[in-house]
């Protein structure tokens, strides 16, 4: 029985049995592991906030009085507000097609969905420059009609959509595959329409996976640097997202301001981790509750 097919579904932990290491080995391993985590994860996180507050709260808040910072925050929010819903609709559609049916080329399609994860962000930005840039496929036509895509907001959105493309789909596909199609088939047989079936049967089953995928997708969309940096053109106050604004401030040796904006992004990361953990615990609890139920089908 493998109830744990999605990355959400961690199986219920077994009781410790007699097989374990001597106490000193356990302490040694534990301290090395925690020491490593402290050096590589806790310290960098702490450094963001201490560097931001190095000159006190006034200097910290000074960084947000700049209009450029506000326009960067606004652009980041707009970008995520477009990219995440687009990939959400795609993720649900792709997961429905891949998990609920058998067809030729399914494995290949699944690999293609994952493709953007293995493309370097810089390459992801470059491909849109090649298509929409001044020397690109549509460059002359776009210029003739006075439409700007690259070095403007649409390019930033496109690049962000590309790098966050698989997040929701890859969370939903294994989850929906594990759940099978019996419940949906029952709903259809009982006379529900396809839409009703999705809304009342499928959606409640996948809601945790969906939230999980959305928050990871959102974190990446707001934090993407490489791809966006290629297509943005770095026009202050116009095409700078928060991570790009951090870079500019940092390169201008405005360390406190750079870390102040970075601290907002670090907060976003922390909130993401908290929501993610809550979703995981919630999901685990529901799985355990489902396990505790008496078996419905006699025999089998």
């Amino acid at each position: 029985m493998s109830g744990a097919v999605s990355s959400l579904g961690k199986p219920v932990r077994r009781a410790q049995s007699g097989t374990t290491e001597p106490t000193w080995v356990r302490w040694l391993l534990l301290s090395i592991a925690l020491g490593f985590m402290f050096l590589f994860l806790v310290l960098p996180l702490a450094a963001v906030f201490t560097e931001a507050l190095r000159k006190g709260f006034d200097a910290y808040f000074e960084a947000f009085k700049e209009p450029d910072a506000w326009s960067a925050i606004r652009l980041t929010l707009i970008t995520a507000a477009i990219a995440v819903p687009l990939n959400l609709v795609f993720g649900v559609a792709a997961a429905w097609a891949i998990a609920k049916y058998e067809f030729k080329g399914k494995a290949f399609l699944t690999t293609l969905v994952d493709l953007p994860f293995s493309v370097s962000p810089v390459v992801a930005g470059l491909i849109y420059v090649l298509i929409f840039g001044a020397q690109g496929w549509f460059g002359p036509w776009l210029q003739a009609h006075d439409i700007k895509i690259v070095f403007a907001v649409p390019g930033i959105v496109l690049a962000t959509v590309f790098v966050t493309f698989p997040f929701i789909a890859r969370e939903l596909i294994p989850l929906m595959q594990a759940q099978g199609t019996e419940e949906e088939q029952a709903a259809i047989v009982l006379g529900a329409t396809g839409w009703q079936t999705f809304w009342h049967v499928t959606l409640p089953n996948i809601k945790w996976g969906l939230i999980y995928g959305v928050i990871l997708c959102n974190a990446r969309a707001m934090g993407e640097f490489g791809a966006v940096s290629v297509v943005s053109g770095h026009i202050r106050g116009q095409t700078n997202t928060m991570p790009l604004h951090v870079e500019i401030l940092y390169n201008e040796y405005q360390s406190v301001a750079a870390f102040a904006v970075a601290s907002l992004l670090a907060l976003l990361a922390l909130v993401t981790l908290v929501i993610k953990s809550v979703v995981e615990w919630q999901h685990e609890r529901e799985m355990r509750a489902a396990v505790d139920l008496p078996p419905e089908r006699p025999g089998a």
Binding site: P44, A94, I127, V129, G133, E247
Partner: protein
């Protein structure tokens, strides 16, 4: 098993196949496939000689060495410490375990640029860690060491998250049997536990390696970006773009893309192997 065969019989009862598959293929083509093909078409406008000169310039070759070497080293470090962290999280109980478990995903959630500037702030000569190391002649920022450190940070969750579920599913009975038959704890680890997690470790290694090769944001702040010494391949692409050398940038990007594809195929094969070995969740 019976569930599976039942599922296979009555597939097309559910509506929406054409709609969802059609939309999936359309969106995939518009966002991913057609733009990626632009890269290939652009490359075909180059002659073979032009392509070869663009991708084998001395500065470019030095960047491959750094990118692949540092990524390999970082992925190795991740395998060792990732296994250790996964082991500790699965097998031991300690205070704050849930927080530590959640923290493992920080590199996924923290924007790379933020990771880059904060690692630099720690390791630079006047930083928290750097100030104690620099007097001893150890320099970790603004040279290839910094690149490796940034890539270790980026790749850590991959190994932990692939090994952790396999360790959780591992059958303790096997270990008990080994102990009963007189094996030492170390023998049990190397002969019983390690073989069962090896596919997952390898998958995690490949994923961390693949991610490290393409990584840009966290590296450029800490690398120092000296040509021939600490310049990574993605930065070469950006440099060529900034000089309006679109063809050259494209050529180097194609080389990176080919390596990404090969790694993606290897990772897929590894995951299939892992599934066959133990039905581990992927």
């Amino acid at each position: 098993m019976t569930l599976l065969s039942q599922r296979r019989k009555a597939h097309r009862v559910l509506p929406g196949f054409n709609l969802t598959l059609g939309y999936t293929v359309l969106y995939l083509s518009l966002i991913v496939l057609i733009p990626l093909s632009a890269l290939l078409f652009k490359t075909f406008t180059l002659s073979w000689d032009q392509f070869w000169t663009a991708v084998t310039g001395p500065r470019v070759l030095a960047s491959y060495r750094l990118t692949f070497g540092a990524s390999f080293l970082a992925a190795l470090v991740n395998v060792v410490f990732g296994l250790l962290v996964a082991w500790v999280l699965v097998r031991y109980d300690f205070f704050g375990k849930k927080v530590v478990d959640a923290l493992v995903d920080l590199p996924f959630a923290l924007p790379t640029a933020v990771a880059g500037i904060s690692l630099t702030a720690l390791l630079a000569g006047n930083g928290w860690i750097g100030q104690y190391l620099e007097p001893h002649g150890i320099q970790l920022a603004f040279n290839p060491n910094g690149v490796v450190i940034a890539l270790v940070f980026i790749g850590l969750p991959f190994v932990v998250r692939t090994v952790q579920p396999v360790l959780e599913d591992a059958e303790k009975e096997l270990e008990e049997a080994a102990t009963c038959l007189g094996a030492t704890r170390w023998q049990t680890f190397t002969r019983v536990i390690f073989p069962s997690i090896a596919p997952a470790l390898l998958t995690g290694f490949a994923m961390a390696f693949a991610r490290a090769i393409g990584e840009y944001g966290s590296v450029i702040f800490i690398a120092g970006n000296m040509p021939m010494v600490s310049e990574i391949t993605p930065l070469i692409i950006i440099g060529k773009l900034e000089q309006y050398d679109y063809a050259g940038a494209t050529a180097v990007a194609v080389v990176m893309l080919v390596f990404s594809f090969i790694l993606l195929l290897i990772i897929n094969a590894l995951q299939a192997w892992q599934r066959k070995r133990g039905g581990a969740p992927v």
